[in-house]
Amino acid sequence: MRVLIMAKEGEQTEAGTPPTPEAMAEYQKFNEELVKAGVVLEAGRLYPSSQSKRVRFEGKKRTVIDGPFAETKELVAGYWLWQVRSIDEALEWLKRAPYDGGTFEVREVFEYEGM
């Protein structure tokens, strides 16, 4: 199965300060381990919400809203797409990630429609 990991890192990423070289190196080491295990399909980091937009749909009406957005804790700062055998496997990998803050959401991706 595929799972999407959404990194909700709170204040830290919203500040837009780049991670320290040490934190970066640790992240890269962990990501490399995942790649070597054949787990990572894709990974990406997102700009702070101050540089992002939202489009709200109300019937036929579309409203574009500029960032930044207030609900810092819910904002996604980065994502991974993983290929794993179970949610449990994803959780075991995720627990090994070198983070000391934030919340990471694990969502299964719907696959193989029509089967």
């Binding site: 381990e33 790649v35 070597k36 295990a37 054949g38 787990v39 399909l41 894709e42 797409l81 290929q83 055998r85 179970s86 449990d88 496997e89 959780l91 075991e92 990998w93 696959e111 193989y112 429609e113 029509g114 089967m115």
Partner: protein, 439 residues
């Protein structure tokens, strides 16, 4: 003692996985760690059978202790530590019991060296894994044995899961694995990463195993389902791991590229009621763009390593031609013919010839394709290959020879073991019968 611990693990999984969270965590950790664990132990003790037992003994300890004491912070290291303690005991016992055997002495020495390295560095873990892959896929073993052993020790699958994947009795798979381990031990197959020319022939055996697993998932040869994505995923995972462990081999990337692109069509090649949808009839909007992109990337890696493309990379290049065409009509058939020519030169086989005939039929008209197919009819190895009459039927139908086409589709339907595919072929035969009446 040996088989009982294996059984204990599998029972603990099947019973435990439903009951406690700790067991589910342990099962997931086992999936993550088992290959590395068995690989590290196999390097020390020299054979897969013993290594797997030691690993499973460690798992049994985990199943006893972790639900009570909690999962340790570094579960992989815990399992390896526990297993290595047992390995030392085992080697000491062997040493005392069979001191006269010089070989065991060497084993023990090698083992001691290995055991001194407590926390193994990343690269060594990689080498161990590679050694395990080469051992499980050793050409001395029959194909089925290699497949079963690879899924077991590298995929971390239980015997039941492998049996389910291949629709064979559990006892058959269990036997294959036991025999495979015995064969490796009796032949004194060394735990090593081969070099030079041997590396290439041994690698070919590894790639063959991975692609066999993939294909069994991609076009199931038997049973009710036309595809079994779980097997494709296992094969892809093994391929992706291998591509990281042995990144300088173009054919590894070729195979990964081929599997990624083929897997991109998994969702599109099954219709609403589970029926097969063939390549040119597929809704290309449903192809998985991520897998296509990964596949093209892998093909690019293979090409950038230089030299002429091997059979897997060439097949990946063919798959890429389809992937790049936005509609079936835009397919670059002449290029596909050229690529099949290259495959036929490197790895000539009647199946490749048949595929080439299909491409020729698309590029230069059904008559040209049919001419090539006719030449294959006498081929003994294709005698019971259901796709030969299916291709022949398709070309005859395009030429308006409906009655002959119907006979071919009927024949093809009688040769396939897969229920879904048989339905499709019988439907084609019925269509030909109807078209024949109208024409």
């Amino acid at each position: 003692m040996r088989s009982s611990s294996t059984r204990a693990c599998e029972e603990a999984f099947t019973i435990g996985s439903k009951t406690t969270e700790a067991h589910r965590a342990i099962e997931a950790i086992w999936r993550i760690e088992s290959a590395r664990l068995i690989a590290g132990l196999a390097r020390v003790v020299g054979d897969i059978g013993t290594a797997e037992e030691l690993a499973q003994d460690a798992l049994v300890s985990a199943l006893e202790q972790w639900p009570v004491e909690g999962v340790p912070e570094r579960p992989g290291a815990w399992l390896m530590g526990t297993a290595k303690h047992r390995a030392i005991d085992l080697i000491r016992r062997r040493k005392t019991l069979e001191r006269k055997h010089e070989e065991i002495g060497r084993d023990a020495e090698r083992a001691q060296e290995g055991l001194d390295l407590d926390a193994t560095a990343g690269e060594e873990v990689g080498d161990d894994l590679l050694g395990l892959i080469f051992m499980a896929c050793h050409p001395i073993l029959a194909k089925e044995a290699r497949v079963a052993l690879t899924l077991r020790v590298l995929g971390g699958l239980t015997t039941e899961e492998i049996a389910r994947g291949f629709l064979v009795p559990v006892s058959t798979i269990a036997q294959r694995i036991v025999r495979a381990k015995r064969t490796l031990a009796e032949a004194h197959v060394r735990f090593e990463v081969p070099n030079g020319a041997e590396r290439l022939t041994r690698l070919a055996s590894v790639l063959e195993v991975i692609y066999l697993i993939f294909n069994e998932g991609y076009s199931a040869t038997a049973g009710r389902d036309w595809v079994r994505p779980a097997l494709c995923e296992e094969a892809l995972r093994l391929g992706r791991i291998l591509a990281e462990l042995d990144p300088t081999q173009p054919e590894v990337h070729g195979l990964v590229g081929l599997m990624e692109i083929q897997a991109s069509r998994l969702g599109a090649r099954v219709g609403p009621t589970g029926e097969p949808v063939l390549l040119l009839d597929q809704d290309r909007a449903r192809w998985d763009r991520l897998l296509i992109r990964r596949g093209l990337g892998a093909l690019d890696r293979a090409e950038r390593l230089g030299g002429a493309l091997g059979p897997y990379a060439l097949q990946a290049a063919i798959a890429a031609c389809h992937a790049r065409a936005t509609t079936a009509e835009e397919t670059d058939w002449p290029r596909i013919v050229a690529l099949y020519d290259a495959v036929a030169q490197l790895a000539p086989s009647p199946v490749v010839e048949l595929n080439r005939a299909v491409a020729v039929g698309m590029a230069f008209g059904p008559a040209a394709g049919l001419e090539l197919v006719e030449a294959l009819v006498a081929e003994p190895s294709l005698k019971s290959y259901h796709l030969l009459p299916a291709v022949r039927g398709d070309l005859l139908r395009k030429l308006g020879r409906f009655e002959e086409a119907r006979v071919e589709f009927e024949h093809s339907a009688s040769l396939t073991e897969n229920v879904r595919e048989r339905d499709l072929l019988q439907r084609r035969a019925a269509e030909c019968a109807a078209e024949g009446m109208m024409g």
